[in-house]
C-alpha cells in the first residue's frame, strides 16, 4: 500500500478537525439546555455552559406540577399511536391496489395522492370543514387530519416497495384459495415490515413535532408535549431553568425514538432518493 503523502495526511487531519468543530456546534446547544435545566433560576438565566453549582433536580418535579406535561405526553402517545396504525392500514391497502391493479382508477389514484406531496395544504378551508363537521378540537378530528396529511408520503413509500414484491406471490396465494383482504394481510403485509416501520416512525415524529395543525385545530388541552413547552415558556419566561427542564423532558422521547428508529427514518428519506 502506498504510504499516505504528507498532503493526504494533512487533509485528513483538517477534515477530522472540521468534523469535530461541526459536531461541537451541534452538541453545545443541547448541552447548554441540559446543564441549565438542573440549575437554580438565577444561575440558569445566565445560560452558562459550566456545571451547576448546586444540583436542582426538583426542577423536573416542578414542571410536572406546573405544566400540562403529563397530559400532553399522553396526548402525543395516543394521537401518534392511532395515527400510525391507521396510516399504515389505509396507505398500505391503497398502495397494494395502486401497485398491482391495472385499472384506470389505480393510475388516477397514484397521481391523486402524489399531488399531495407537491400541493400545499389548504389550512383555512380545512378549519371550515372541521367546524362544520363539529370535529374541531376533538381527538378524532386531529387524527383524521394527520392521517390525511401523511397519506401521500406513505403511499409513495409503500408503492415503491410493493413493486419489488413479485406478483407471483399474490398469484400463488390466490391459487391456494386465499384472496382479497385475507391474501393481502396474510401474505403481502408481513413482507412490508421495513416500510411499515418507516411509516410508523415518520408518523410518530410528524405528530409529535407538529405545530400548525395543533395551533389551528386544537386547544391547549389536546396539544402534544412540545407545544405545551411553548405555552409553559409564555408563563415562565423568566425561569429558564424550568423552561429548559421542560425542553429536556420533551427532547428525550424524540431522541430516544430517533436512536431506535434511526435507520428507518434515514432509509425512508433516502428511499425516494435512491429510487430516483
Amino acid at each position: 500500500m502506498k504510504p499516505q503523502s504528507m498532503n493526504q495526511r494533512w487533509l485528513k487531519f483538517v477534515s477530522e478537525l472540521a468534523m469535530l468543530a461541526v459536531a461541537i456546534v451541534f452538541i453545545v446547544p443541547v448541552w447548554m439546555v441540559f446543564v441549565n435545566s438542573i440549575k437554580t433560576t438565577a444561575e440558569a438565566n445566565q445560560f452558562g455552559i459550566w456545571l451547576p453549582s448546586t444540583y436542582q433536580l426538583n426542577n423536573y418535579v416542578t414542571i410536572f406540577r406546573e405544566s400540562n406535561a403529563f397530559q400532553a405526553f399522553l396526548n402525543g402517545i395516543y394521537i401518534a399511536g392511532i395515527v400510525g396504525v391507521m396510516a399504515v392500514f389505509v396507505s398500505s391497502m391503497a398502495s397494494f391496489f395502486i401497485a398491482r391493479s391495472n385499472a384506470r382508477l389505480s393510475r388516477f389514484s397514484y397521481i391523486y395522492f402524489i399531488s399531495g406531496l407537491i400541493i400545499p395544504v389548504a389550512i383555512i378551508p380545512t378549519y371550515f370543514a372541521l367546524i362544520t363537521m363539529h370535529l374541531n378540537n376533538t381527538y378524532i378530528g386531529l387524527i383524521l387530519v394527520f392521517v390525511t396529511y401523511t397519506t401521500p408520503l406513505s403511499i409513495f413509500l409503500y408503492t415503491g416497495f410493493m413493486k419489488t414484491i413479485p406478483k407471483e406471490l399474490d398469484e400463488a396465494a390466490i391459487v391456494d384459495g386465499c384472496n382479497g383482504f385475507a391474501m393481502f394481510f396474510k401474505v403481502i403485509f408481513p413482507l412490508l415490515g421495513p416500510v411499515t416501520m418507516t411509516v410508523v416512525v415518520f408518523n410518530f415524529v410528524g405528530v409529535w413535532n407538529d405545530v400548525m395543525t395543533f395551533l389551528y385545530f386544537a386547544n391547549g388541552d389536546k396539544w402534544t408535549l412540545p407545544m405545551t413547552v411553548y405555552s409553559f415558556f409564555g408563563k415562565y419566561s423568566q425561569n429558564w431553568n424550568l423552561v429548559f427542564a421542560d425542553i429536556m423532558f420533551t427532547i428525550i422521547p424524540c431522541l430516544l425514538l430517533f436512536a431506535i428508529g434511526q435507520k428507518y427514518i434515514v432509509s425512508g428519506m433516502t428511499a425516494g432518493a435512491v429510487k430516483g
Binding site: I82, I131, Q238
Partner: protein
C-alpha cells in the same frame, strides 16, 4: 368464491365501522378526561348557602348537579386570581361544578366567535366589557340585585345598545391606566408633579436623564405596551371636535388628521428617554427597575400594585401612579371601564344555572373574593371594595389639580361599534423606524378591512 368475497366485504365493512365507532368513543372519552376541571376541594366555608334573591322567575333549585362550562383568557386564570377561589365557593355551596376552559390571549375572541357560530358555546365566559370586543348580540339579559347598583359609566358599558338590556356582569374594581412612577426619583430630579402637559413631560425626562436614570421604562417586546402612550396620553386629540366622529365613520384616516400624526410623532420623540433595551424586554420581566429606582416610570396601570407588593414590599411606598398626557393643554386620569366581565350566551345549554351562578358571584361577600387581587373603586355602589394606596394618591392628585376622569383615547374615538384592529403594532413599528404616516396608514388598512367584514356602518 362470490359468497366468500361478499363475506369478506361485509366483515371488512363491519370492522371499519366498528373501529370508527371505537375511535369516536375513545376520542370523546379522552376529551372529557383531558379537559381541565376545577376540583371541588372546598376548604373554606361559605356564608350560608342561601339562593340569591333574584328578579328572574325563580326556577326550582336543580336536584341534579350541573356542570357549567366557563371560558376565558389564559392570562385571567393564572394562579392567585379570585375567579378560581370563588368558583370553588360556588361549587361547595351548590354542588354544581364549573369546567374551566382557557385559551391563548390573542386568539380567544376569534375562538369565541367561532363557537357562537356553531352553537358550541360555553355556559358563561369572562371577557373585556364593551361591544367593541365581543359583540353583545346573542347574549342573555342578566338580572339580579346587583344590576341596579352599577355606577353609571359601568352600566353604560355593559348595556346592549340595540335594546338597552344589561348583558354583562362587570367585576373589576375601577382603576386607572396611568404612569407607575418612583416618587423618590422624581423628587431627586426636582420635578413638580403632576405633569400637566407634554412639554413638562419632556422637561421631566431630561432632568431625570441627567441623574443617569432611565426616564421611561418600556416593555417593548409586547406589541401593545407602546400603544398605551396614545391610549392614556392621547385623550386631548380624541376630544378635538370632529376627530372621533370622522374616524369612527370612516370619513378620515388617522394619517389625515395632523394632530393624530403629531401625537404619534411625540411618542417617537420620547424614544431617547426609554431604557436602551426596550425592544427586547417582555411583559413578564416586570417593572422591577422602576421599583429599584433604575427607571423613573412606566406607562401602564394600577394593577402593578399587587405585583410590587409581592416582590418589593419595602419599595411599594416609593411608587405611585399619576396621570400623564401627550397634549398641550389637557391632562386626564384615564379610567378602566373595559376590564373583566361575565356574560351568558343565549345558546348556552345551562343558561339559567349560569345566570344564577353569576348572581352568586356578584353577591357582596363573594364579590370580594372574585375581584382578588385587584384593588380600586367599586363598580357597584355600596360594595366593600378596597382602593390601593396608589389609587388613593392618584385620586387625591386629580382632585387637587382639577384633573378630570376620562375614558381612553380609543374608547372615545371608536366607541363600542368600531373594531380598532391591531393598534399595538402601529407604535411598535414607529419606534422601530417606520414613518408615522406609513404606520398609521398600515393600521388603517387593517382595521378598515376588519370593519368592512364586520359591516360597521361607514366602512
Amino acid at each position: 368464491m362470490i359468497t366468500v368475497k361478499r363475506q369478506l366485504k361485509s366483515i371488512t365493512a363491519i370492522l371499519l365501522v366498528l373501529s370508527l365507532m371505537f375511535l369516536i368513543a375513545c376520542g370523546s372519552n379522552s376529551a372529557n378526561n383531558a379537559d381541565s376541571s376545577s376540583s371541588p376541594a372546598a376548604t373554606e366555608t361559605t356564608k350560608a348557602s342561601e339562593t340569591p334573591a333574584s328578579e328572574t322567575p325563580t326556577t326550582a333549585p336543580k336536584k341534579d348537579p350541573v356542570t357549567l362550562t366557563f371560558a376565558t383568557y389564559n392570562e385571567w386564570m393564572t394562579q392567585g386570581t379570585g375567579m378560581e377561589e370563588v368558583f370553588k365557593l360556588y361549587e361547595a355551596a351548590t354542588g354544581n361544578k364549573i369546567k374551566v376552559e382557557i385559551y391563548p390571549n390573542d386568539q380567544f375572541i376569534n375562538i369565541l366567535k367561532a363557537k357562537f357560530a356553531t352553537g358550541d358555546v360555553p355556559d358563561f365566559y369572562a371577557m373585556n366589557a364593551g361591544e367593541n370586543g365581543m359583540p353583545y348580540a346573542n347574549l342573555e339579559e342578566l338580572t339580579g340585585p346587583w344590576v341596579d347598583k352599577m355606577v353609571e359609566p359601568v352600566r353604560k358599558k355593559v348595556t346592549r345598545s340595540a335594546d338597552g338590556k344589561v348583558v354583562m356582569a362587570y367585576f373589576s374594581p375601577l382603576g386607572y391606566y396611568a404612569a407607575v412612577y418612583n416618587k423618590k426619583v422624581f423628587a431627586d430630579a426636582g420635578v413638580k408633579l403632576p405633569l400637566m402637559n407634554y412639554d413638562q413631560l419632556v422637561e421631566a425626562c431630561k432632568a431625570i436623564q441627567k441623574l443617569g436614570i432611565d426616564p421611561i421604562y418600556l416593555m417593548g417586546k409586547e406589541n401593545w405596551t407602546a400603544a398605551l402612550f396614545s391610549y392614556i396620553g392621547g385623550v386631548e386629540v380624541a376630544n378635538l371636535p370632529g376627530v372621533a366622529e370622522k374616524l369612527a365613520t370612516n370619513q378620515a384616516k388617522p394619517s389625515d388628521i395632523p394632530e393624530y400624526v403629531e401625537m404619534a410623532n411625540r411618542i417617537l420623540a420620547l424614544k431617547p428617554y426609554f431604557n436602551k433595551d426596550f425592544m427586547s424586554v417582555p411583559l413578564a420581566a416586570g417593572i422591577g427597575p422602576v421599583a429599584e429606582g433604575k427607571a423613573a416610570m412606566t406607562v401602564m396601570g394600577d394593577w402593578y400594585y399587587d405585583e410590587i407588593l409581592k416582590e418589593y414590599p419595602d419599595k411599594v411606598g416609593d411608587l405611585s401612579i399619576m396621570p400623564i398626557t401627550l397634549g398641550d393643554n389637557f391632562v386626564s386620569g384615564v379610567a378602566t371601564y373595559d376590564q373583566h366581565a361575565f356574560a351568558v350566551p343565549s345558546a348556552a345549554k345551562n343558561k339559567e344555572a349560569a345566570k344564577e351562578a353569576i348572581n352568586f358571584f356578584m353577591e357582596p361577600d363573594n364579590f370580594k373574593v372574585l375581584i382578588k387581587p385587584y384593588k380600586g373603586a367599586t363598580p357597584l355602589e355600596g360594595y366593600d371594595v378596597e382602593m390601593s394606596p396608589w389609587q388613593q394618591e392618584m385620586a387625591d392628585m386629580m382632585k387637587q389639580n382639577n384633573i378630570p376622569l376620562t375614558e381612553t383615547n380609543f374608547s372615545i374615538i371608536f366607541g363600542d361599534t368600531v373594531d380598532f384592529g391591531p393598534i399595538g403594532q402601529v407604535y411598535q413599528e414607529i419606534l422601530a423606524g417606520k414613518s408615522s404616516k406609513a404606520a398609521l396608514d398600515d393600521w388603517y388598512k387593517e382595521y378598515a378591512k376588519i370593519n368592512k367584514a364586520k359591516q360597521t356602518p361607514g366602512f
